[in-house]
Symmetry: C4
Subunit: 220 residues, 4 copies
């Protein structure tokens, strides 16, 4: 019995060692806030990635049910180095809008429109637009969020001048986050032997590998 | 005995905690669908990475047996916001074709040809070609798949206009996926002390590190 | 009882196998030094990423308390291939300063100023400045650190010429490290089912996915 | 006792489930071959990342003892679709040489020289040079390895024409691998609470975070 309990202790301590060696030792389910925030004279702007949500299919497989976004949050200045978080407004950049942003040249501009009632009879009542306009000298961009709510007659507008250096951080961080909000980090993290991309199993000369790799495109 | 069973419980709960702390809690073997899909007037286009397949060598090592691809799927529109998935056609981009795509400038074009019977007597009977042609004003690309099957006399053709923003998503996501379809994510995930890249083990002045790092190129 | 102990042994060895299969088998808490170092005639320069520090909130969630940096260290040459580590000076690049550096064109320059007493009555007593100046022919940069301490009347100055190739290593490695010093690697490593980004749970046609993905921007 | 053994079984099966859920289920120590290979008329070229080797310091910390490289291997054609692996020659690209390669414009060229006896009396006896020369029309590069061994009077020369698409694969894959051959993937994989980058622990207003992040540059 002594030997047995020693095994148990060893097993237990190995498992506990793991608990503190793992790539991340945050509690599961805990949220992690690491916004990239830019504080300027009239408003502040922060950016945060939000991951996609997956749904389990009857086959046991998974598909993205709800795409991830890069969430931009704007909140106004109310004095020197003071900002009012209660008056914040959000704008959720889709993968394609992120593509537009990271593709902007130093003289380019772009604008996105969101309407929560799009395609319904309330379309146009509430409307958000985000514009990114390059400075004429290429030294940065004006990032501007406008939220018009005709139902309650409010009109919020935030303008944050973003330097070329700050925009480079956004471009690099958004490019990093893009595959994650699309869910591709999950797709490529699969095991090497999980069996969903099976070949013929027969050996092949190196000259044939290229064609063999493409045979699955001939299946339906 | 009481102490023993407490150890057991602790070991068990630690292991279960792990199950929900791990980087991905999908079941092993489950497939994960996270296509990047573009719905346009006449057809839809989606892109998905497929990982390489490894084979175990007699030495206990592994090599890529079948390279991964980025699978493009096209399917036709059959009415407003309706698409016919049953009529889909696929085109599997190899690593080098992905290299060609992510290297395209805003005015560039490229075209790839695939033939499942290449180098056999049936060569040319069935033929797929994918072309990517820049709009004259640099605002995006036409992505066009043509599938000609002379054996059954069919000719499918799909054209999807892709905006510069959508193409930026593809370029960024494909660049992210490229090392994974090549298998390099596995190569670089090796342990720091796994012993296949051994040095002399002797200490070295910092000025010598650079040369020492290259000595293995002198081995066969 | 025999069957039981066999289970225990199996459990134990499985856990131990894990210990050597894990992505990194460094002891937890151990520091890992992998500086990118450039040795030149008058001084040496090395760069190292330092990760952010997180703090646990009362809600059980986490936020970045202290941002990460890319730490640059300069130390002077004191003879052929000899450098004096004791005389080193450091400069910690913030995320935005890293953005500035990785955004530099082959003819661009930039300069950063740090003052540990900024905004206090001692402001200006000690002052560090880092400048990066392109060579006129685009073949590289001069990276120069100046540390002026008026309190003790010292003035240290380090100049390291960096080739375009070395700068490309810095740009690529800094771009890789940037999301990590921001903490975004932790944000995107969350589990697919951890519940902080919940949708309605109802099914949706594919045409609706895009709008649904953005609904959370309408919440406060 | 029944309850106890059920716990044991559960613990055991959880651990075994893990074995097949882990990010990589290759045996530890196994080598993984996933070269990017280019077969051309007169020779073939393949590229493979080799990771750095770490050494444990007396403090319990680790430092890179031997830097990683991207290993290029050339071997000659000996007939149609036949290549002689026994006649291979290698060239190990250092981090800085990789920086030079990924920084090449479509009209640029570069050349590297390696000598295993550099700085000794045998310097120059054996000499390897790798040159990468752009085609005049920007459509690709000639990659050429020359190995001259004056001791045994041999002179091997390999020329592999690389298309712009193939070079884009190399640039993307080498950029991915660069932080790994430098060891920065290990540096940034540290735990959030491992304690080597401690702040004051006191709360701070958001306006102060930036300065606080840099205080460590003022330490020696």
């Amino acid at each position: 019995m002594l030997k047995l309990s020693r095994q148990l202790l060893r097993s237990s301590s190995a498992a506990q060692a793991w608990m503190s060696t793992a790539p991340a030792n945050f509690e599961p389910g805990a949220r992690i806030f690491a916004p990239y925030s830019i504080y300027k004279g009239k408003a502040a702007l922060s950016a945060d990635p939000l991951l996609p949500k997956f749904t389990k299919l009857e086959t046991g497989d998974y598909r993205v049910e709800r795409r991830g976004v890069i969430m931009l949050t704007f909140w106004p200045s109310i004095g020197e180095r003071k900002y009012d978080w209660e008056k914040r407004q959000k704008f959720a950049l889709s993968a394609t809008e992120v593509g537009s942003l990271i593709n902007l040249g130093p003289k380019d501009s772009c604008e996105f429109f969101h309407d929560p009632s799009m395609l319904s009879s309330n379309a146009g009542q509430v409307r958000k637009s985000l514009s990114i306009k390059a400075h004429a000298d290429g030294s940065g961009y004006f990032v501007c969020l406008s939220v018009i709510n005709n139902a309650v007659n409010t009109n919020d507008r935030f303008v944050v001048p973003v330097t070329a250096a700050e925009f480079a951080v956004m471009r690099t961080a958004f490019s990093f986050a893009l595959p994650h909000i699309m869910g591709w980090d999950k797709t490529v993290a699969k095991l090497p032997f999980s069996g969903d991309h099976q070949g013929s199993g027969s050996g092949s000369g190196s000259g044939m590998v290229f064609r063999q790799a493409q045979t699955s495109e001939w299946d339906r």
